[in-house]
């Protein structure tokens, strides 16, 4: 089943066209990986999916992005509510300089989506979901910045799932982490896809091959290849893709 359908998406920074005629379908409760060299448009594309690009002035979008069949770029859409359905984890672990508890509680509090007694449950559930609960359950009131970088990134994932999104976008979530923390986050992604649809941008092709079900290859603002991950990595249909994943281009 398709959670998100993108149809003929063009994206402009001022006059510069950053994305050209992108069409693809993101499957529900699957991991879709987007790969490609720096500046190819994969992060820009990711940010189109929850309209984070709206915050940048002078940008323009053409085409349609359907979330459960509804175009998120039509005028009646409440962008704040959209972002509640399509959450996001960023490249650099970026907890608020507050306690672990307050970080996870941020979303539920601003959305007023919990009762006072329910907040503790939401926090435990989110931290368990992000595979962090056992490590922090005795120090929830401690400053989030006292955690290791890998723990901070999992805290950011917990913070994102605390708002109970349907889709989680991850923009190079492991690029600031060491190999062990990276493996933990990858493990986490696999368990998250039971409940969430994941779209990840990654520089790391092994990572895309290891965790994703579908892979899209971007090249200079175009989606060159989009297929089941195994096909992309074993028998790519496009020469560019083959050159990139074998290290001859990019």
């Amino acid at each position: 089943m398709d959670k998100i359908r993108v149809e003929g998406l063009n994206f402009y920074y001022g006059k510069h066209r950053a994305l050209t005629d992108i069409s693809l379908a993101v499957r529900d409760r699957r991991i879709t990986a987007l790969i490609g060299p720096s500046g190819c448009g994969k992060s820009t594309f990711l940010r189109c999916l929850n309209r984070m690009n709206d915050t940048i002035r002078g940008t323009r979008t053409e085409g349609r992005i359907l979330l459960d069949g509804q175009d998120i770029y039509t005028s009646g859409i409440n962008v704040v509510e959209l972002r509640q359905r399509v959450g996001m984890v960023f490249q650099r672990p970026n907890p608020f300089p507050q306690s672990i508890w307050d970080n996870v509680a941020f979303g539920p509090r601003v959305l007023r989506s919990h009762t006072r007694s329910g907040l503790a449950d939401v926090i435990e559930e989110s931290l368990r979901g992000a595979a962090l609960w056992e490590e922090v359950k005795d120090r929830l009131r401690q400053d989030a910045l006292s955690l290791s970088l890998g723990q901070q990134q999992r805290l950011c994932i917990a913070r994102a799932i605390a708002i109970k999104p349907e889709v989680i976008l991850m923009d190079e979530p492991c690029s600031a982490l060491d190999p062990i923390a990276t493996l933990q986050v990858e493990e986490l992604m696999r368990s998250l896809k039971m409940d969430y649809t994941l779209v990840i941008v990654t520089h790391n092709m092994q990572q895309a091959a290891r965790v994703s079900d579908w892979t899209g290859f971007f090249w200079m603002g175009e989606l060159v290849e989009f297929d089941i991950t195994e096909n992309v990595f074993t028998r790519p249909s496009n020469r560019l893709t083959e050159d990139y994943i074998t290290g001859r281009a990019g």
């Binding site: 704040v80 972002r83 959450g87 960023f90 970026n94 608020f96 300089p97 941020f106 979303g107 601003v110």
Partner: protein, 282 residues
């Protein structure tokens, strides 16, 4: 050709010298005021009404007057200053209106304080008929303080990384929720510092209160915001220039009290700033 390491030594020596030139006058001024004024300052001096044509007794009403003025100035300038800063830093787009506001703030900060005094006299004392009163004086000082608060608070708000605002949006928070819960708490130390520094400047000013509030000699405490009062800086001016035969130690003692008040507020600002700066990790 001088050896480059010798050149570096020479450079450092000159730089240290310039730094000392900055510090020297401050030490000198403080030293003289303490040396000549300390003998006058005792409990009676701080807590008694002036008597014998201000040559004897204490300066109690001037201290209370200055504190009340500070309170009134704070009440009027903090909400406007911080609110304006939040608008400029978080909401305002770059339009001719916001450019005009910024230009006005910069220019307000450069206006001589005596002009504020005349403005306060015209607007608050005469036109709004507050009379010569604490209300008129505090509002005049507030107008002088607001630009300082706005510009320091805006700077503090802008120093909070944009990243936080992006995360807040990604978590389904509105901009206002983000300001309340993350941005403002992060910027608070900087804002508080700005407020204290702005109020400090107001505390020591004479010209703005000259026409709006300060009484030459009024040995009782004000009963309402619409009463005039004595105030430290103006009192200091009066006893230094307008009263013949004023004992020297009373003049320096009064200066010492004003200096202590201002420097201790400054110290509080510094402590707050360094405390929070150590905690900040971005």
């Amino acid at each position: 050709m001088i050896d480059r390491f010798v050149a570096q030594r020479l450079g450092f020596a000159l730089l240290i010298l310039t730094a000392l030139v900055v510090i020297m006058p401050i030490l000198f001024v403080v030293g003289i005021i303490v040396a000549w004024g300390a003998s006058a300052v005792n409990w009676e001096f701080l807590s008694a009404m002036p008597s014998d044509g201000m040559k004897a007794g204490g300066i109690f009403p001037t201290i209370i007057g200055t504190l009340l003025l500070m309170l009134g100035t704070a009440m009027a300038s903090i909400p406007v200053g911080v609110g304006g800063a939040i608008y400029l830093a978080e909401y305002a787009r770059d339009t001719w209106l916001t450019r005009a506001i910024r230009l006005a703030i910069v220019n307000l900060a450069g206006i001589p304080s005596v002009v504020y005094g005349l403005f306060g006299l015209g607007l608050f004392v005469l036109f709004l008929q507050f009379g010569t009163s604490i209300a008129a004086g505090a509002l005049t000082l507030a107008i002088m303080t607001i630009p300082v608060i706005i510009s320091t608070a805006e700077e503090a708000l802008r120093a909070v990384p944009t990243e936080f605002r992006t995360i807040i949006a990604s978590l389904g928070g509105t901009r206002w929720q983000g300001i309340q819960r993350v941005v403002l708490p992060q910027a608070l130390p900087g804002i508080i510092t700005g407020i204290i520094l702005g109020l400090l400047r107001a505390a020591g000013e004479t010209a703005p209160i000259l026409f709006t509030v300060a009484a030459f000699y009024l040995p009782r405490l004000p009963q309402s915001p619409f009463d005039p009062t004595m105030a430290l800086p103006y009192h200091l001016y009066v006893i230094s220039t307008q009263v013949p035969g004023m004992p020297l130690e009373v003049q320096y003692g009064t200066a010492l009290v004003l200096l202590t008040l201002v420097l201790s507020m400054n110290l509080v600002a510094t402590v707050i700033r360094s405390y929070f700066r150590r905690r900040r990790q971005w």
